[in-house]
């Protein structure tokens, strides 16, 4: 578990350093994820040491959003004043983004005969 956590932090750190040095708009943790995927593809045996801790961390992913969510208390006035545009925009644009993504993925998969039917 310690080893796995250290690995995740090291890859995050490498990602942050690369993002900073190369002035990439890509966030450090996302780069870290890509690099770790690269390592796993090169050395598949590493996965066994990482899997339990990683999956445990991801199981509680929604917990990690709670502290930022409590920040709503700082913006009560603004949200009260602009509730209509905020609510409609969040609701409709989230629905549109889900629908557009799912339809484009499905249509193009069908078009190129890559249908994922066994799912």
């Amino acid at each position: 578990m310690l080893e796995a956590l250290a690995t995740l932090l090291v890859f995050q750190a490498i990602g942050e350093v690369l993002s900073y040095l190369l002035r990439l708009p890509v966030p450090g943790p996302v780069l870290g994820m890509a690099l770790l995927l690269g390592l796993l593809l090169l050395r598949p045996t590493t996965i066994d040491r990482l899997r339990p801790t990683s999956l445990e961390l991801l199981k509680h992913l929604s917990l990690l959003f709670v502290p930022a969510g409590v920040g709503v208390m700082l913006h009560v006035a603004r949200i009260g004043n602009e509730w209509l545009p905020i609510v409609v925009s969040l609701l409709v644009s989230t629905a549109l983004a889900i629908a557009v993504t799912a339809l484009v993925v499905t249509w193009t998969a069908r078009r190129f005969a890559l249908d994922d039917t066994e799912a």
Binding site: L8, L9, Q12, P25, V26, P27, G28, P29, V30, M33, A34, L37, L41, L50, R51, T53, S54, L55, L58, L61, S62, L63, L64, F65, V66, P67, A68, G69, V70, G71, V72, M73, L74, H75, P85, I86, V88, S89, L90, V92, S93, T94, A95, L96, A97, I98, A99, V100, T101, A102, L103, V104, V105, T106, T108, A109, L114, D116, T117, A119
Partner: protein, 244 residues
């Protein structure tokens, strides 16, 4: 007795212990309620935990900053958790290699739709410029969305709130919406939820199946990547076109 309790509270509130403990307890209670409801998306655990914590802080007059001094340790784990997404992705590598083209096209369409429609709708309903710019990165996971908001002139802490609201919305509406559109593939369903509703959608997808979760996690990472490139020029351009 009361003055004594007060001083204990003041003492505890000054240490990180309080924010951290309160966050974990609130989440445990929220997750129990979610499980009792049969994992009903309306009983979203993030929403319930936030309501519990905001009520507690309001009742005790504790400022958000004091709370966050403790809760930041939980917030910090978003970074390593994002890196950890490489593990379920590796497990799905075969499917990923086969579907890369549809996924790439879906990603581009989804990201542009999320930014464009959020700005367009909020502008049409007279939102302020700061609110508009804070809305642009709402489909991206919190720490990254806050960074983008800062870059384009939004309010990072307001963006964090929009991100959480977007995630909860996506987790709630995804199932009925995707059923209505007759999308059956777990890969396509998970990917769409990850593009629109980042980690909260991904957490929900993992509860349905590991495959759906892996594709949602992939989409969440890629959306952060693409939005970090697109939003800094798309959002200010759209905003100045709409409200010169």
């Amino acid at each position: 007795m009361t003055p004594r309790l007060d001083s204990i509270w003041v003492y505890l509130a000054a240490t990180p212990l309080l924010g951290l403990t309160a966050t974990l307890l609130a989440y445990i209670v929220a997750f129990r309620i979610y499980q009792r409801s049969g994992m009903n998306p309306l009983a979203n655990p993030v929403a319930i935990a936030v309501i519990l914590l905001v009520s507690l802080l309001a009742l005790t007059g504790t400022p958000y900053q004091t709370y966050f001094d403790g809760a930041q340790f939980v917030h910090f784990l978003l970074g390593p958790a994002t890196v950890a997404l490489a593990v379920p992705l590796y497990d799905q590598r075969a499917r990923l290699a086969r579907l890369w083209l549809p996924l790439t096209l879906g990603l581009g369409a989804g990201v542009v739709t999320a930014i464009g429609s959020a700005l367009g709708i909020a502008w049409a309903l007279d939102a302020s410029r700061e609110t508009l710019l804070s809305l642009a990165p709402k489909s991206v996971t919190t720490p990254i969305a806050m960074g983008i908001a800062e870059k384009i002139g939004g309010l990072p802490s307001l963006t964090a709130v929009f991100v959480i609201l977007t995630g909860m919305t996506g987790a709630i509406i995804a199932r009925p919406l995707l059923n209505a559109l007759r999308i059956d593939s777990h890969a396509a369903r998970g990917f769409a939820v990850g593009v629109a509703a980042h980690g909260i959608g991904t957490a929900r997808a993992f509860q349905v199946s590991e495959q759906m979760g892996a594709f949602a996690g992939l989409a969440m990472g890629l959306t952060a990547l693409v939005t970090a490139f697109i939003a800094p020029w798309m959002a200010p351009t759209l905003v100045s076109l709409l409200s010169p």
